[in-house]
């Protein structure tokens, strides 16, 4: 097990870390939207890692922190890890912060001047978070649709990867 993993939900730790950053390194910069504050409107366990969304006055990011799952790679800036989340593949970029340890983030919005109130920002973040963990329509929908429509599923484009994963027969992804 990764020694740096969080056994408890690190939601408050993440919020506290970025609240500190907002008050120090980011203080007074023109990229900061004064109407917003740091918040972590959602963070939950997903396949052994902590997946959440972070609102700051300068950005709204998806965030992944290491849980006991063991798949989280402790990468520095410049490194990236691809995650297969229910709604698709996302590239998360690594970083490390004293007191928080390694974390990964994926940008949704920055700067955040479009969000005029904190409620808007959290609404935006929560909606994105829900959509992140919602499964998309099955990948084989087009093939299935063709079959139901009386056509041949085989006439639909199937990638080599899908074929090897059984995509031709409605499985895989």
């Amino acid at each position: 097990m990764n020694p740096a993993c969080h056994t408890e939900n690190p939601r408050h730790l993440l919020a506290a870390t970025f609240t500190r950053i907002a008050a120090t390194r980011m203080a007074g910069l023109p990229v900061v939207n004064p109407a917003l504050a740091v918040a972590v409107p959602a963070m939950e366990a997903w396949q052994g890692e902590w997946v959440g969304v972070l609102v700051t006055p300068w950005a709204v990011n998806l965030a992944i922190l290491p849980g006991p799952g063991g798949r989280f790679r402790p990468i520095e800036v410049g490194g990236a890890q691809w995650w297969e989340l229910p709604s698709g593949r996302y590239e998360f970029l690594g970083n490390r912060e004293d007191g928080l340890g390694h974390y990964q983030s994926c940008s949704l919005l920055s700067p955040a001047f479009e969000l005029s109130t904190q409620a808007d920002a959290e609404d935006f973040a929560l909606t994105a978070f829900d959509a992140l963990l919602a499964a998309p329509p099955p990948a084989s929908a087009s093939a299935e649709g063709a079959r139901l429509g009386g056509g041949s599923a085989i006439s639909q484009p199937v990638s080599r990867r899908d074929f090897l994963r059984g995509g031709l027969f409605g499985g895989g992804r």
Binding site: R25, P30, L62, V77, L109, S116, D120, D123, F124
Partner: protein, 362 residues
């Protein structure tokens, strides 16, 4: 018998295997997925060849320099030998009257069918005398060739916005193409120069599918100009954590911290440099330790020093957002629309180079 692209290509000695490889490379660079490769192949095999006429106005030829260095050698070969650059001052063998005769011939033979690629822009002061070609002002040549073309590609920041020659006080009144030619569709591919892969992808898309790629409200192909440098920058985690280089040789600079405080224009610049990168995907300015100068943005010469921090970012943002592609900015004002914006933002996060573009080709 009509001559297709494929015919020309075979005549140039390019094998069918190479041709098919080119089609799949192009499909990939356009983000169209594997299924589009056979469609591109079919289009190039069966459709009549569309000539491209490439004019040069006030410019430095960096667009051409960029274009002929498209990453994959095959792309370069195919584009240059096959995709019919019937006229390009820099690349063609013809000269003098012979060269001007080509223009006339294309204009008559392919009336309403050829694509006009314009690098640089026409100066309008003194009746266009500041740019003179073949014994007449460039603006005349541009208007004449534009009259019978199907569409115009405005290469680079010169043709798209005006660039350095249009910087204040713009003594020659250098004017971007869309302000001179108003009755034809103009696709802007800004950048100084634009990324070669972007240039070849745009031109191949238009030749294969005989239509324009999806454009944003500023007239740029959304697939490559849908996101800011900042959105996909590999140094972005440093920005998010407030880790900035404060001078060029401090600890932060050595650690590769964010260059925002050193004047990086990444947060306000729409381009694909941070994803497609340069020199066959090797690097891009920020990776080399210098901030983005925002060369693909309108009027970047007049927006202050390359090294002064973007302070009016809010203003900047709104300006940039005027062209937003069904996206976040304008929409989030009302809370009810936040859902749409959030889902769009998520789609953009998934997408490597740009917004989730529906090209209608998949």
């Amino acid at each position: 018998m009509i001559e297709t692209f494929y015919d020309v290509l075979r005549r140039q000695g390019i094998t069918r295997r190479s041709f098919l490889k080119f089609c799949s490379l192009t499909a990939t660079s356009l983000g169209l997925g594997a299924a589009a490769a056979p469609r591109i192949a079919h289009a190039l095999e069966s459709k009549p060849r569309t000539p491209v006429v490439w004019l040069h106005g006030l410019e430095c030829t960096c667009c051409t320099e960029s274009f002929i260095r498209s990453a994959h050698p095959l792309t370069k070969d195919v584009i240059l030998s096959m995709l019919s650059l019937d006229y390009d001052d820099t690349l063609m063998a013809a000269a003098g009257h012979q060269a001007e005769a080509i223009l006339k011939e294309v204009k008559e033979k392919y009336k309403g069918q050829y694509i006009l690629a314009v690098e640089g822009n026409p100066p309008l002061n003194e009746d266009g005398m500041y740019c003179f070609q073949g014994g007449r002002p460039f603006v005349e040549k541009l208007k004449e060739m534009a009259a019978d073309c199907k569409a115009i590609i405005a290469w680079g920041s010169c043709a798209s916005w005006g660039c350095v020659q249009a910087a204040k006080p713009n003594p020659t009144r250098a004017t971007p193409v869309h302000k001179v030619i108003t009755d034809k569709p103009v696709i802007k591919v800004p950048g100084c120069p634009p990324i070669p892969e972007v240039m070849t992808a745009v031109v191949t898309y238009m030749l294969s599918f005989e239509r324009m790629p999806t454009l944003d409200r500023m007239g740029r192909p959304a697939m490559f100009y849908g996101q800011r440098i900042h959105d996909k920058c590999y140094r972005r985690p440093h920005f998010d954590a407030g880790q900035f280089a404060e001078t060029w040789d401090d600890e932060g600079a050595r650690k590769g911290y964010c260059l925002y405080k050193m004047g990086c224009k990444g947060p306000t610049t729409y381009n694909a440099c941070s994803t497609v990168r340069w020199n066959e995907g090797v690097s891009f300015p920020i990776q080399s330790g210098h901030g983005c100068i925002g060369c693909s943005e309108d009027g970047f010469w007049d927006k202050g020093s390359f090294y002064s921090r973007v302070t009016d970012i809010k203003q900047f943002g709104i300006e940039a957002n005027a062209d937003k592609v069904g996206a976040t900015a304008a929409a989030v004002v009302g809370a009810g629309i936040a859902a749409h914006a959030a889902v769009t933002a998520l789609a953009r996060a998934r997408n490597k180079t740009g917004i989730d573009v529906k090209q209608g080709e998949q």
